[in-house]
């Protein structure tokens, strides 16, 4: 998947309000959208369905920036 598609996916999950420039790798998750337990559960499900990756609770909790999510989107 191309980078801009991955970023759009993350933007969608987070319901991020990012304006025209969109997300970038360094964006702090908690600052641009809802980074709560429901959002995290959505991310777990999407990662499993689209990338076949099983994220653990501690992996989720250690995520700070958009890049931390991208690292798992291989």
């Amino acid at each position: 998947m191309e980078l801009n598609k991955k970023l759009a996916l993350i933007e969608n999950i987070l319901e991020a309000e990012v304006g025209k420039e969109g997300l970038n790798r360094d964006t702090i998750l908690g600052e641009i959208g809802d980074w709560d337990s429901l959002t995290q559960l959505s991310l777990v499900i999407i990662m499993k369905e689209k990338f076949n990756k099983e994220l653990t609770g501690s992996q989720i909790r250690s995520m700070v920036t958009v890049q931390d999510i991208l690292d798992y989107m291989e």
Binding site: I13, E15, S37, L38, T39, L41, S42, V44, I45, I46, G57
Partner: protein, 252 residues
């Protein structure tokens, strides 16, 4: 001494019999004298169930209940071979947490297929005169989710609510055929659904969200099995169209 929940000679079909409440129920019903017709997807696990049964006259069948269009042919083939059924217990079901933002039609449909549509199709076929005995009891596993909502459970709650409503309509329509239809509204029991809750949300969340209200503690599959056996037996012959709550106090 009498056993009011005696099921000797009753032929009962159990779906979802390879794990959890379905497995426990199949074993329990066999101890009460029933002959079981077990249905599940997982062949290996289903074998494990059948080896745990007491008595004789049991059979096992692999079938994916999502294959709604073929349920009729599948059931009639079994019934032609072994005879009319005295009961149905629908335990097959899925409970996947999914926030509303990603609960799309496909996910919703998949949940309804296994939890609800397959049940209606099973009852539609079994309730035909040629397929059921003179006195038949249908029991379906519902959940407190039918009554009490929770985050990430729109699909599951709706599917269980659909079951509890359908039970009332079916009971009225099928009374003339001497078929009773009821659901068991279970609280939180120690099944793999509990295990996945703990895995996804943690024990602390379980204590805070569930055990605080379910003051008899975490239930066991046998608690549901006993309620199911009661609703199948003649001891409940005056009970139909109801949702029997077995929840350790959760909804009170």
């Amino acid at each position: 001494m009498i056993n009011p929940m005696d099921l000797t000679g009753k032929r009962i079909l159990v779906t979802g019999a390879s794990s959890g409440i379905g497995k426990e129920t199949a074993i329990h019903l066999s101890k009460l004298g029933a002959s079981l017709v077990l249905v599940a997807r997982n062949e290996e696990k289903l074998l494990d169930t059948i080896f745990s049964l007491e008595g004789t006259g049991h059979s096992l069948h692999h079938f994916n209940l999502k294959d709604i269009d073929n349920i009729e042919e599948f059931l009639e083939e079994i019934i032609n071979k072994i005879g009319k059924l005295n009961g149905l217990v629908h335990c097959a079901g899925i409970n996947e947490l999914r926030p509303l933002g990603i609960t799309d039609y496909n996910f919703l449909h998949n949940t309804m297929l296994i939890n609800f549509y397959s049940f209606v199709e099973l009852v539609r076929v079994i309730s035909k005169k040629k397929n059921c005995a003179k006195s038949t009891s249908v029991v379906v596993m519902s959940s407190v989710a039918s009554i009490k909502g929770d985050k990430s459970k729109t699909a599951y709650c709706a599917s269980k609510g659909a079951l509890d409503s359908a039970v009332r309509a079916m009971a009225k329509e099928l009374a003339v055929k001497n078929i009773r239809v009821n659901s068991v509204v279970a609280g939180f029991l120690k099944t793999n659904m509990y295990d996945s809750y703990i895995k996804e949300l943690g024990e602390e969340a379980f204590n805070e969200n569930v055990l605080r209200y379910q003051y008899l503690g975490l239930g066991e599959p046998i608690d549901a099995s006993n309620a199911i056996a009661f609703l199948l037996s003649n001891a409940s012959k005056f009970i139909t169209g109801t949702n029997l709550i077995v929840d350790g106090g959760y909804l009170s």
